[in-house]
């Protein structure tokens, strides 16, 4: 007989080891899936996880990995607050879009004026936009007990519609010969988030990601709010008895995650993306949920898992070119990583016992 027995304390070893096991299992099963579709499995796995960092064109791909990892890490770190407190903001994609729109709108309002104040204003607008968009589920949850999962998600679809509307309407480039899409911010020096060192992928977003990770790491450990967030998730009743207002935690968690997603959005639109178009969003907000989980909702873990998941974006493009595997199939990899991680999570709080219960 195999049965489960609850551990007295969560296993630290298992917490650290299981994400690695999950990734390896996802690679194996992903390889099998490619094989069944008649694609060379080992080549595919190598192209996704090896080629971007160590392959022939790594000098180009490495910078791309940084560019993709930055928004993932920023959004995931923000989300980790809520997930720790049991507040499920799954609409980061929408907050990311709104942040980008707000930031771009500020820049376009000043065009063609050049001033050093424009970029900080854009960042502020992006942060506020994402924050405000996340406050909608927050306020509804606190005032009416509405489910934040459904509301934040519905707002993603609303945000995508707004994105299409503004890229064809109010933010459209007047000199764009009628094509949808805004002016390219990369060609507007005061608003551009360019690479700090050419061809490294190192732009302000990467710096911001690192900063946010470090700040979050210490915040969670030392600040009272970090403690309140953690205790709300682990023991809601105890949290209430110790005087933590659940409403406040909802606002803090949704606010932080929304603002981070908005920041990621504005850094993206001013940098790698360059302009607001209807296809600006690329699913970072959803992938960031996997990043947060795979990183064990821990800032340093998220740094690593963000880099890993960035590989699936770059690797996805490589296998699409080389093996004609659609790049969206990388979502299957992300899903599998999450599955295996959740499956192996069991070993953190339970241990497997063989034999009959006495």
């Amino acid at each position: 007989m195999i049965r489960l027995e609850k551990r007295l304390e969560p296993s630290k070893l298992m917490t650290a080891v299981t994400p690695v096991i999950a990734v390896i299992l996802a690679m194996i099963l992903g390889g099998l899936m490619f094989a069944m579709l008649g694609k060379p499995p080992l080549d595919a796995i190598r192209m996704i996880f090896w080629e971007p960092i160590f392959g022939e064109f790594a000098f180009f791909y490495r910078s791309q990995v940084l560019i993709k990892a930055a928004p993932l890490i920023i959004i995931a770190t923000g989300l980790s607050f809520g997930f720790r407190a049991g507040i499920w903001n799954i609409g980061a994609e929408g907050q990311y879009i709104i942040g980008a729109i707000c930031g771009a709108a500020v820049a376009l309002a000043f065009y063609p004026l050049e001033s050093r104040f424009i970029f900080p204003l854009m960042l502020a607008a992006g942060l506020l936009g994402g924050f405000a968009w996340a406050m909608i589920p927050g306020v509804l949850k606190n005032r009416f007990k509405t489910n934040e999962i459904l509301v934040s998600l519905m707002l993603v679809y609303v945000a995508t519609s707004i994105l299409t509307a503004v890229s064809q309407g109010i933010l459209r480039n007047p000199e764009g010969h009628g094509f949808p899409g805004s002016r390219n911010l990369q060609q507007y020096p005061s608003a551009a988030n360019l690479e700090l060192i050419p061809n490294t992928g190192l732009h302000l977003g990467v710096i911001a990601a690192l900063l946010i990770v470090v700040v979050t790491h210490f915040f969670m450990r030392t600040h009272i709010l970090g403690f309140q967030v953690k205790i709300t998730g682990e023991a809601p009743r105890a949290a209430r008895f110790s005087g933590i207002a659940p409403d406040k935690v909802v606002y803090i968690c949704l606010g932080i995650s929304g603002a981070s997603a908005g920041l990621a959005g504005v850094l993206e639109v001013a940098g790698p993306a360059g302009q607001i178009t209807s296809s600006f969003h690329s699913g970072y907000g959803f992938t960031a949920i996997v990043v947060a989980y795979l990183g064990r909702l821990n800032a340093l873990g998220i740094l690593l898992s963000g880099l890993l998941l960035a590989l699936t974006y770059i690797g996805g493009e490589i296998v699409q070119q080389e093996l004609k595997i659609p790049s969206s199939s990388m979502q299957a990899f992300q899903g599998m990583m999450l599955f295996f991680l959740l499956a192996t999570d069991l070993f953190i709080t339970y241990r497997i016992k063989l034999g009959v219960k006495k």
Binding site: F144, N147, S161, I289, K324, P326, G335, M336, L338, A343
Partner: protein
């Protein structure tokens, strides 16, 4: 609002029934899952797998009905992944459901690559004898394809099962208080696994209806959020089968009206119309919460382990 006058109400209702069918199927399945105390956020993933498998099998066998059956089986199989994770391995249901959606979207893109641009065999209309000859009403309500009627029958069957049968009572008790149900000797995990698979099969049928009847073609990510709407409808319905029907037709109605308004040359920009269903979902969610009449199953989303 002159545009509304140009819309033919008979065609509107008829196309409403078609456009509501996928979300009705998925929502009725998810309602049963939630009644058993499980929150499966993977509806979108199961629908898209149903869409691609149904489409592929219908082309391979040139029989759309076999396509539907295969879609139901495939999605039920996929839902079992979620079932094992949450019921046997005691994983978090929100994360598992999201994983299921991501996995389904990715896998469907891989499977569907070879079927892009192909044409599925048509399901054909099933005109109900006599009833379909009634003027106006006949064309509106009684000359659709089989699946539209099947979805309606499924609502009735679900109502009878949940509210009028012993097994339905057991399922509801598991959802309300799994510890008490366990103490009474019911196998909580088995009941929930069966409910999850039923929900999967329904989502699969809903997805196949999108790729085989509504569009009818395969394109990546073609369910476009229908699964999430289905989840919202379950909340809107207050976990009552008949209200799922009302909710699904309401949502079908909004999306059809929006298309019709676009076609009728409405001055409202298309993008603002297309966000209407989502905004209405939010408003309904708020409205239901304000009235304080939410009858969500008491054990919804909670992990059950025999040792407690």
């Amino acid at each position: 609002m002159i545009e509304i006058m140009n819309i033919n109400p008979i065609l509107l209702v008829a196309s409403l029934m078609v456009s509501a069918t996928p979300i009705l199927l998925a929502a009725i399945g998810e309602m049963v899952v939630e009644k058993s105390g499980v929150l499966n956020l993977g509806v979108e993933g199961m629908m898209i797998i149903g869409a691609v498998v149904g489409f592929a099998v219908a082309i391979l066998t040139s029989n759309p009905l076999i396509g539907f059956i295969a879609a139901a089986f495939a999605a039920a199989l996929l839902s079992l992944v979620f079932g094992v994770l949450t019921q046997v391995l005691l994983a978090n249901q929100v994360a598992s459901g999201l994983g299921l959606t991501l996995f389904g979207l990715g896998l469907s893109a891989m499977i569907g690559k070879n079927y892009e641009g192909k044409q599925a065999p048509s399901l054909g209309k099933f005109e109900i004898p006599f009833l379909s000859d009634i003027p106006i009403f006949g064309k509106t309500f009684f000359s659709h394809d089989l699946i539209v009627y099947f979805a309606l029958l499924l609502v009735l069957a679900t109502y009878l099962f949940l509210m009028r049968s012993r097994h339905g009572l057991v399922l509801r008790s598991v959802g309300e208080n799994h510890d008490a149900a366990h103490a009474l000797g019911y196998n909580v995990v088995r009941v929930r696994l069966l409910a999850i698979m039923f929900g999967g099969a329904c989502s699969g049928l809903g997805g196949a209806y999108v790729s085989l009847v509504r569009v009818p073609q395969w394109t990546e990510g073609m369910t476009a959020g229908a699964g999430w709407i289905a989840l919202a409808i379950v909340v809107f319905s207050n976990w009552k089968p008949w209200r799922v029907l009302v909710g699904a037709y309401l949502f079908g109605g909004v999306s059809v009206l929006q298309l019709n308004l676009q076609a009728a040359g409405s001055k409202i920009p298309v993008e603002y119309l297309s966000m209407a269903p989502y905004l209405i979902t939010i408003l309904v969610l708020v409205f239901m919460s304000v009235r304080g009449k939410q009858a969500s199953p008491a054990s919804l989303g909670k992990v059950f382990h025999k040792s407690g």
